[in-house]
């Protein structure tokens, strides 16, 4: 592939980037982070929030860097006083209508709005304004929707449309009442929603959160362990969020080879079987038709004795093993090795051949 390159100057440094890319992406390549609330590399750019504005020499006003391509010879300042002032104003306006209840917000520590307010020193709003008073939607088991915290970035709308391909959301109402909404403004449960939670994964604020993670701890206390989904053959990756030795949630991980941050309802919200109280935790031995708890030693000794006895009495082919298309490769390898090398038969199979 032949690529065209252009040269431009950013914060006094000349750099060369691929032609046609946006200033925000070019800056990133040059190691400069421009703040953003409505832009995400994996979604189409809309230029709505104006937090990403930069100064371009010769332009009459500040330009939103997420929707402006780099042109040859362009001279850009990403953190000039004018730019900083403009960004402060954007943030100031956003929080004028934002419940500043960060003390109890589930997203605290993982909120872009708070991060940027911190970075730009915006503590409280200088605007006196009307406030929203939307009811918090908790009528489904997966997603909590608190649109009082919504900053109308529209990322949820685009993730639903462009990743999931459902188009369950769109902006509704005008002006102050503008918000992302399902068709007819119905709660998610009554809408076309498939509960993939992709809207949650992109939401920069506490407007959309995982219900299973509610009151389970602060985001910074959670250890993230990247793993592979156990629910279908697609091979999506995600992060298990762990606190105090328990899984408390699943969050998307951008560095996933197959799925990026897209997930489905099973991968995103089906993990809670792990801590279901019906999990078996101790070996059980059947005595007179009843299962009685036993120690690992008791159970394994009994199995070894019986397997050995049956092999001695009837031969190796009186034994067979079923391995599992849900278990790991290593477990499967060991089951077939055990069957072949220890029991002496090739009778090992698994249930699903599909």
């Amino acid at each position: 592939m032949i690529m065209d390159f252009v040269k431009f100057t950013i914060n006094g440094k000349e750099v060369e980037v691929q032609a046609g890319i946006s200033i925000i992406d070019a800056a990133e390549q040059a190691g400069i982070d421009i703040p953003r609330l409505c832009y995400d590399k994996d979604l189409s750019p809309v230029g709505a929030c104006r937090l990403c504005v930069v100064e371009v020499k010769g332009a009459r006003s500040l330009v939103p860097s997420c929707v402006s391509p780099v042109t040859p010879g362009m001279v850009v300042e990403t953190h000039s006083p004018a730019v900083i002032k403009a960004r402060r104003k954007v943030l100031d306006l956003l929080i004028s209508n934002h419940p500043l209840d960060c003390l109890t917000c589930e997203k605290a520590g993982d909120c872009k709005l708070a991060d940027y307010c911190y970075e730009y020193g915006v503590k409280e709003s200088s605007f006196e304004g009307e406030r929203h008073n939307y009811a918090i939607e908790e009528s489904n088991p997966f997603i909590v929707r608190d649109l009082n915290k919504c900053i109308q970035c529209g990322q949820c709308i685009r993730a639903c449309d462009e990743w999931t391909g459902i188009h369950n959301l769109n902006f509704a109402y005008r002006g102050f009442d503008n918000k992302p909404s399902t068709f007819d403004d119905l709660p998610y449960v009554e809408s076309e929603c498939v509960f993939c939670g992709n809207c949650v994964s992109v939401c920069p604020t506490g407007a959309l959160t995982e219900r299973q993670m509610k009151h389970k701890g602060r985001r910074w206390e959670m250890k993230k362990v990247k793993t592979t989904c156990p629910f279908c053959g697609t091979g999506c990756n995600f992060d298990l969020n762990v606190k105090d030795g328990k899984v408390v949630g699943v969050t998307a991980n951008r560095a996933s080879a197959v799925n990026g941050r897209s997930l489905c309802v099973k991968g995103h919200f089906g993990w809670d079987f792990v801590h279901d109280e019906r999990r078996l935790t101790t070996p059980l031995i059947k005595k007179d038709g009843e299962f009685l708890p036993a120690s690992w030693d008791e159970a394994l000794d009994l199995i070894a004795t019986r397997f050995k006895g049956i092999k001695d009495q009837y031969g190796a082919d009186a034994f067979a093993a079923l391995s599992s298309a849900r278990c790991t490769n290593e477990e499967n390898y060991l089951v077939q090795k055990f069957t072949r090398a220890v029991m002496g038969t090739n009778s090992v199979d698994h249930c699903a051949r599909t």
Binding site: V194, T227, C229, T234, V265, V274, L280, A304, A320, S324
Partner: protein, 544 residues
């Protein structure tokens, strides 16, 4: 996957998931991708939006069928005549890729000979698909450069599943849609690690990497590595295991993480077989229907409690990472080691990584894969050495077996068709919200979608006097169960559609005992049933 192995010498998805958004045509046969493999389904929707043509072959009006350019609503079990009809048109109109056929394949004459008889007109009668659609889809597929074929359960879970798969492969070879990005024959595999379970040799005829147990050289290699002598003859497939258990020849079984009573067709037969064993060990997360038959139940550790790897449907080996301590105190790999030790065969692994390393050293197609290399994005096999980048597209230069092998395949009607006594055709499949054994234990998922709703066409519903929400008794020649009804024209008249996820409506108590003679896959898709409205809410059971 025996079908693909015969044709190409390898039974896995030939291409990769992330080629989908850039494909120009997606040809889906019997796969309800948006529900069974949702994130692959997302990518298909994206391709369609970008202008790809979409062809869906399915008796049921699935979500993708609704947005398809061509939805071929064939009669269940008639995939082969449909595919033969499409190939008939392609050959007759000279749209086949003659260079590809000459250079890369053999036995083309056999295919030509067979499909000659399948005129679009006669195929239309057999399948119910309009003649014009057969022509249109044949031309579209043959003339589109980047066209990907997909199939799943719908096509492999038939008596003639193996033949169906070979027919799909025939079609791709005929038009040269192989060995390039955006093409290929792509079986999307159901369970998360069914590919890996096969790759690891959890099959009665092969060691890891499909090295045959009857091959003396392979056996010798494993004998040396494992320091034992190994059995020469292939073992039993699951269906044969159940048979031998019935016959009293199989005495003991160890079942790890499977629930054949719920997931196998004809579950009553399975119950009886398990009951007949002298000693059954089941290792599971939950007290499943199968575990009830055990003499000893061992608690299993979940995916969150162990290190390891899964291999996805696109042959991508990826890491599973331990997030929490195993709830039962031991991970499954440790349990097998402990058991082995007690039986006088110590296995001295201290981690799953060591198990992997041993396996890779004995398995040419995975020899280049180490945990270290899997860290970022995983690796797609074959990957024969540590410098090899992995293989996103199979069969680029030649097929695994050398030349692709065409086979003429004739129509085999389903093993059991509706008749006067059992007038409806039962078909089963997967729905979005559930996944075999684990999701019913997810509180959220269970609370949203707690019960089976079986789909029935409005015509049949009117005749039987049932409405959405009614409970009905469904009976086949093998068993019966109770289910809720959803009246919808998603299903054609004459069909009842159920999923196999709910234990209160065990659809597999009903399904057919007919098996594909090669893979012994149960015929989940087609069986005859009758439906009766009931007033009382009852529980389910099979005829014992």
């Amino acid at each position: 996957m025996a079908g693909l192995a015969t044709t190409f010498g390898s039974g896995a998805m030939t291409n990769s998931i992330n080629e989908i958004p850039d494909a120009e045509m997606l040809f889906l046969i019997g796969t309800n991708t948006t529900e069974a493999h949702p994130v692959i389904g997302y990518k298909m929707r994206r391709a369609k939006r970008k202008g790809a043509k979409l062809v869906v072959v399915d008796p049921r009006r699935t979500e993708l069928a609704e947005i398809a350019d061509y939805w071929l609503r064939l009669k269940p079990g008639t995939d082969i005549p449909l595919l033969n009809g499409i190939m008939h048109v392609i050959i007759r109109e000279g749209l086949h890729d003659q260079d590809f056929i000459k250079e890369r394949t053999e036995n083309f004459e056999a295919l030509e000979e067979t499909v000659k008889n399948y005129t679009p007109e006669s195929v239309s009668v057999l399948t119910g698909v309009p003649v014009n659609d057969i022509y249109a889809v044949a031309r579209l597929y043959a003339t589109t450069d980047k066209a990907m074929l997909f199939y799943t359960l719908g096509i492999t879970e038939h008596v003639c599943g193996t033949d169906n798969v070979m027919s799909v492969a025939n079609l791709a070879m005929l038009t040269g849609h192989l060995g390039r990005p955006g093409t290929g024959v792509n079986p999307i595999r159901g369970q998360n690690n069914v590919q890996g379970a096969c790759d690891m040799g959890a099959l009665p005829n092969v060691f890891s990497g499909y090295q045959k147990v009857i091959d003396p050289a392979a056996r010798e290699k494993f004998e040396k590595a494992w320091r034992v002598s190994l059995p020469e003859s292939p073992g039993l497939m699951i269906a044969d295991m159940i048979e031998k258990a019935h016959a009293g020849e199989l005495k003991a079984m160890y079942i790890l993480g499977e629930n054949p009573v719920l997931t196998d067709p004809n579950s009553n037969h399975v119950r009886l077989g398990l009951e007949n064993l002298e000693f059954l060990v089941v290792q599971e997360l939950f007290l499943t229907e199968t575990a009830e038959y055990a003499d000893v139940i061992l608690p299993a550790a979940s995916f969150a409690e162990t290190d390891g790897t899964f291999t996805s449907t696109e042959r991508r080996v990826q890491r599973v990472r331990k997030a929490i301590e195993p709830l039962p105190g031991m991970a499954n790999w440790q349990v097998i080691i402990e058991l082995s030790k007690r039986m006088g065969y110590p296995m001295d692994y201290t981690s799953p990584e060591e198990v992997w390393t041993e396996m890779a050293s004995l398995t040419p197609s995975l020899a280049g894969v180490s945990y270290h290399r899997l860290e970022a994005k995983g690796v797609q096999w074959p990957c024969p050495n540590s410098e090899h980048p992995g293989t996103p597209v199979l069969h680029t230069g030649s097929f695994t077996r050398g030349k692709g092998y065409f086979q003429g395949i004739d129509h085999i009607p389903p093993g059991e068709l509706p008749d006067q006594e059992y007038p409806l055709l039962l078909s089963t499949g997967r729905i979005l919200y559930h996944y075999n054994v684990t999701t019913p234990y997810s509180a959220g998922i269970q609370s949203m979608w707690p019960e089976e709703a079986s789909e029935l066409n409005p015509d049949d519903a009117a005749r039987l006097g049932v409405e959405t929400g009614d409970k009905v008794k469904v009976a086949s020649r093998r068993g019966e169960c109770v289910t809720n009804i959803l009246v919808t024209d998603r299903v054609p008249p004459g069909m009842l559609w159920m999923s196999f996820h709910y234990k209160n409506s065990p659809a597999n108590a009903l399904t057919s005992a007919a098996l594909d003679p090669v893979t012994k896959t149960g015929e989940y898709k087609v069986c005859a049933v009758k439906v009766e409205k009931i007033q009382e809410v009852g529980t389910c059971g099979g005829y014992m």
